[in-house]
Structures are given as C-alpha cells and as structure tokens.
Symmetry: D2
Subunit: 224 residues, 4 copies
C-alpha cells in the first residue's frame, strides 16, 4: 500500500450509483495521474467490478461479509475481491462494524491475498486494538463527526495525535490515516500535519458539483 493516500468512499450514496460511480472514479483517476499522487476509490459493492474495469487507480471494497467464496447468497466474499478487480479493502467502517474475531481473520486473509488493508476505528484505544491485527493502515474516525463537515483534523486533533502516538509506539509498521468531516484541501493538510499518512473521505468528493475540481483540491496537500 502506498502513502500518503487519499481514499474516496462512495458509500451507498445515490450520487455515486450506477454509471455515476464510473464517472467519479474517472475524475479521481485523472487527478491521480495529473498530480502523481495516490488516490484509491471505494465504490459500492454493486459497481465494484464495473469501476474496476474502467479505471487504473486502485479500487477498494468498502467491506466484506464472509471470508471464503461459496454458497453465500447476497454476501460479498473476501476471496472474490481480486477476481472482481479490487486492490484493497476497507474493514470495520463505523457504518459496517465487524466482530473482533472476524476482523482478525479478514485482516490476515486479506494480506495473504495481496490486498491493501485499511481498518477503521472510532478512537485511539480501538485503533490500537485494530493495529494489533496487522493491517497496512488504521483509519481513526470519530463517528460523531462523520458526514458533519466538521473535520476531525480541526475538531478532534487530539484524537488523531493520540492515535498516531499509541499505534506508533506499539505497532510502528501500521500507518495511521484519518477521516470524518473532511471537506476541504485545508482539512486534508491539517490531517497530514498531525502525523497521519492519508485521509479517508466520502461525501465531500461524492456530492461535489464538479468531482474533478473537488478531488483536485483534496489531493493537492498530498504533494507536500
């Protein structure tokens, strides 16, 4: 997994459904190529394979439901992600929280499969536990700020700093990124200044009038 990184989560937003998922992913790809920075997109499950065959930047799954392929109607299997075109997976997003024991298995298996692995957590202590499982990155995201437009890097900088310290002390191989309420390039810059190695965001990019322009603003701080 390459850092610093900007990860764009499309969630289940109507604004990123169907063909619009491909359009937003292509805008992200254009910015990534123009700036030479790392941007990954995480479309909804429904459009994952479609987006993956449409762009060259990394495509991440927003999560998984089971570990192994098989007779699992309506479930997304970790073991099928690469076949569908995914290069990574986000696990334990606060909107799709996982049981600790499953999470531990998924992290181990995803790394074996060669996927980038990002585990979300709501606070420093939980981030430390997540880091103990050995993902590439932990994304600390206070749930109360998600979707609010009040950036974690401005409104809860101490949460970010403490996570960077705790994880850095015990599990220095695990990168810390952050998210929640990130709306502007300035918010991204603040997050990086706090010691993180990237940002995970959703609505600011997905709901932007001009996706290319907004993603460009958000990605520029990665250059510094």
């Amino acid at each position: 997994m390459k850092f610093p990184v900007l990860i764009l989560n499309f969630k289940a937003y109507a604004e990123a459904a169907g063909r619009r998922a491909v359009e937003i992913a292509k805008a992200a790809e254009r910015v990534a190529k123009e700036l030479g920075v790392n941007i990954a997109v995480a479309p909804n499950h429904l459009e994952l394979a479609l987006v993956a065959q449409s762009v060259e930047i990394p495509v991440y799954a927003q999560g998984v439901d089971v570990e192994s392929p098989g007779a699992h109607t309506a479930h997304v299997a970790l073991g099928n992600l690469k076949e569908a075109g995914a290069a990574g997976v986000i696990l334990n997003h606060s909107e799709a929280p996982l049981r600790l024991n499953e999470l531990a298995r998924y992290v181990g298996r995803a790394r074996e499969l060669g996927l980038d692995v990002v585990v979300c957590a709501p606070d420093p202590t939980t981030s430390l536990a997540a880091a103990a499982l050995g993902p590439h990155a932990v994304a600390v995201e206070p749930p109360e700020l998600i979707g609010t437009g009040r950036a974690v890097s401005k409104y809860k900088p101490e949460t970010v700093v403490k996570t960077v310290q705790l994880v850095g002390k015990h599990f220095p191989d695990v990168a810390v990124i952050t998210g929640a309420g990130i709306e502007s390039g300035e918010d991204v810059e603040a997050a990086l200044r706090l010691g993180t190695r990237g940002v995970l965001l959703a609505s600011a990019a997905v709901k932007a009038k001009d996706h290319y322009q907004k993603i460009m603003e958000l990605a520029k701080p990665l250059l510094k």
Copy 2:
C-alpha cells in the same frame, strides 16, 4: 414479473466471480433468446452493474442490506438497485435471512420501485407469511436440500404442493416457485408439474462445465 421463470443465483461462488459472471449471464441470455423463455440471472453484488450492462435478460440482486441510499458503507441499498441495472430482487434467501419487519418494508418499497420481487421461505407456513407481504413470487426452498443435488421436487414434493395450496388459498395473486437441490431438466419439469410457476437454482448452472448446455437443459421444461 413474467412466468414461468428460471432464476439463476450465482451466490458468492468463485466459479461466478469477476468476468465469469458475465460469461454465465451471456450463456443464460442465449438460451432465453433461443427458446423464448424467461430466465433471470442473480449475480453477486460485486458484479451486478457489470452484468447488467452486458446482457438484456433481467438481472436480479441476490438481496439488499438497507432500504434507502445514503451513508451506508459496505451496504447495498434497495433504492440503488435500478440505477445499477437490476430489474428485480431476491429477498430472504435462507443464506441471507431477513427480519420480518425489514422484509415487509423491502417488499413494499421494491414494488413501488417497479422491481420484480421474489421472497424465499423454507416451508409452507413461512411461505404463507411471506406471501402475506405481497411479493410477485414466493420461492419455497427447504434449506436442508439446498446444494445437495437432491431436488425438492422429488424429495419433498409435499412441501411444494402444500405451499401452492396454502398460498393459493389466501393470496392467489402471489406465484409460487421453488428451489433447492434442482440439478436437471427433469427436476425442473417435476417442479412445474407440482403447480409451481418457476424454479430458483444455483450450483447446477454455475458449476456446470458447459453453462450454455446445462442452462438449455434446465430451461427447456419452461416451454411446455
């Protein structure tokens, strides 16, 4: 929704992951066109949009996780299915059982959206409850036969017959289809003879060496 119908569920089988989902769907499309019969395919979430833009036969979602689009990371929203290209949805498969109250809401909303709605249930009594919710079809599938190769139409014909009677008595507008263990054209024929209006199946088609040939065999009884 058109009957009689053959619905092919790809589950999360590795044999139907990535590009293979498109290949199986195209084989089904070829059979549907050649025979002039109704075949729907239900790819895994990961390939839904990709399959939907690749074939003209109805594409069904294997299930959904939430009703409305929005900030639902790693969840599939009913409200995004049409945008992704789906024409219908399978709900309450025994591998993805739904809470009664959610199921009731999903059935109502899916019909408003113009989607075909199939609700699975394990036995006659539960099928009756499912039919009370007003889907287009109820698929009675004894879970103990799913994936066994022992066809419900041969090994539990009384389950099918009782479901057809119960649902027909109380909710005659709801079609009864069936599934579980269906492996051959003969099994499909037996299911139709018991009074059902279609068959839901998975492994027999997905794991066939020659998808076209197997689906042709399975679909032919629909002509009679």
Copy 3:
C-alpha cells in the same frame, strides 16, 4: 392464553432492574388478584427466574436468542424458558426484531412447549404475516409511537382497526392486541373498543411513581 390481557414489558429499564423487578411484578399480581383480570409481566432476562419464583401471575420472556438449550454463551434459549419459570414469550418486539424464518420456528416450538406466544408487528400487513405463523396473539405496535405517550389507540386507530380486520379475515384464531404510547386507563379502554383483546405496555407502568395505583388504572378497563 387468556384474554383480555394486560402485558407489562419491563424492557431493560433501570427502573425495573434487580429487586425492583420483583416489586413491580408483585404490584401487578396484587391488581390481578383484586380485580380478577389477566395481567402478565415480562421482566428483563436477568430477573426472569427471580421474578418467576416470586409471583403467581404469568411471567413472559421478552424474547429469545436461540431455539434449543446448549452451548450458547450469553444467549437465551426458548427451550429453557419453562425451566426458568416463564409461561409465555413475546417475539419480534420492534426493539428485538427477528428474522422471519427464525420467528416461524420459534412460534411453532413455543406452542409445542405450551408457552403463550405473542408476536409483535409494526403495521397491519406485517401483522397479517405474523398471524400466518400461528401465535396466540399478534400485538400491532407502530414503532414511531412506542415510548412517546401518544397512544396508538388514539393516534393511529385505523392501524388497529385494519389489523383486526385483516387478521380476523384470514386467521380468526389469532387474537389481536395492541401497544405503543399507552399511558392511561382511557388509552386501554380505547384499544379494547377498537376490537383488540388486550394491551402491551411498558414505560407507563414501569416508570410510575406508584406501581400498584398505575397498574390498577390500566387494568380496570379489562373488567368491562
């Protein structure tokens, strides 16, 4: 199961925790004996056996987690309810919604065990589906009114009436009771006038300053 009935749900209220569960149950027992009416209490799981050995009126479980006794840490098994002293069970409360297929199995098994079975549902259509499963009673409770003090019998009488009609038409052996927002004897009376055969309520009794007095008020309309 005897009708008309008043069922008092203690939920996980702090006001009904520990010894207070026994006190409220004893107040209900006193009213039941004085008036000669049917009152059942549904204490939290933690106090079920304790309450059951303290009173003679029927004690209902608020729900169950699994069907059979066994190696199910932190789960309540339907098969252990009678041993713990329960005479009935409430299933599918909107705060503990059950999967349709489980609910169907639990209803059947609970009746075999000789337990009173009440299934909750949020609206007429879902109540009809619940009734199809064959419980003693269906309790229609619009979730948006639960805990509000705005009684279903006053604010949504048409929901109650439609449920009584639908269930009565298809499954006349299933009694319809109701709940949500019931605060006073007047609310109970209104519910019975709409054709129901009982009321399920929680906070009005549990949070009352004087449990005996409040339960007396709520139970009196059962006499008429």
Copy 4:
C-alpha cells in the same frame, strides 16, 4: 479481580437451567470456601439475579447486548448488571462474538462500573487486540477445541504460551487465562504451568454427575 481464578460458564445448557443453576453455583461456593480459592460462576441470563442472591462468590454475566439501561426489549444492558447482582462480565465469548467497536466501549464502561472484565479471543493475535482494550483478563480459547474434551493446555500449548508472551510484552497489566476442552484438574494444572492465571470452563463442571466433586478436582490446582 482476583487471580488465580476458575470461571464456570453455564452457557444455555439445560443441565444448568432453572433451579439447577442455583445448585451448581452453591457447589462452586462450597469448594471456593473450603479451599480458599477464587471461583466465579457465570449463569445464563435467565438465572443471573436468582443465582446472585443465592451465593456469595462472584457471579459474572456471560455477556451483554447493549451498554445503557433503557427501552431495549429482550436485551441485557451492561448498566443493569450490578443491580442484578453481577460482579463481572465475560465479553466476546466465541459463541457471542462482539463487534470491535462495541467491545471497546463495553470494556471501558464495565471497568468504570467496577465490574471484573474478561474478554475472550480465539488466538494470540486477537488476544493482543483484546488486551489493548484494557480488560482485567484475556481468555484465549481456540474455538475448535471448545466442548471437545481436548484441553487447550495439552493440545495447543503453543497458543497459550504465545498469548502469554505477546500480551505480557505489550500490556503487562492484563492477565491471561485460558479455556477450551478443559476436563480435569490435570488440564487446569497444565494451563497454569503455561503461565496463565486461570481457567474458563463450562461443560466439564455443568454436566458433571457430582458438581461438588468435579469442581473440587478442577479447583485444587489453584492452590499450588
């Protein structure tokens, strides 16, 4: 929390339902007093308050469903445990796995409430993550051995030793205990020799013909 400790989990075994829960707890109490060792019992939710008022040894809840008391029908609230008589809580048993984020909140809240907190985990890495959350003890239990009679201390000693090392290195304040397949005093002794500070077990005690005698055998190694 006092160590070394023997924790007896009654699960949802029929053998420990109703009055039998009190009998087994009393046998454990007798052994604890006679030997002067630490034994805690974890009855099913249904009998928790009843057992707690019947014995003086610590009574643990087998788990919880929500954090705060309130309108949570059929859920056990952490905040009501003390009122019901519990002195501690077992979290994340493999039969009742918890989401990482919930688990983190529950551990923190349970400690604030003055409860003993034991978090189960299936392997060394997951145990490390569990220890990061700050419970009194982590119980490493390979799920494939639970209920088999093949003791973890004999069949997977390396799992126990690695957990003791990993947790001891990063979080030395957290005790490591173990469980799974423990059947005899010899198994308990082996577990303690591997560096653990206690044992969590279920069927060996619950299903014993003579509870007192079996618990005596299992507890004696704690004396050394």
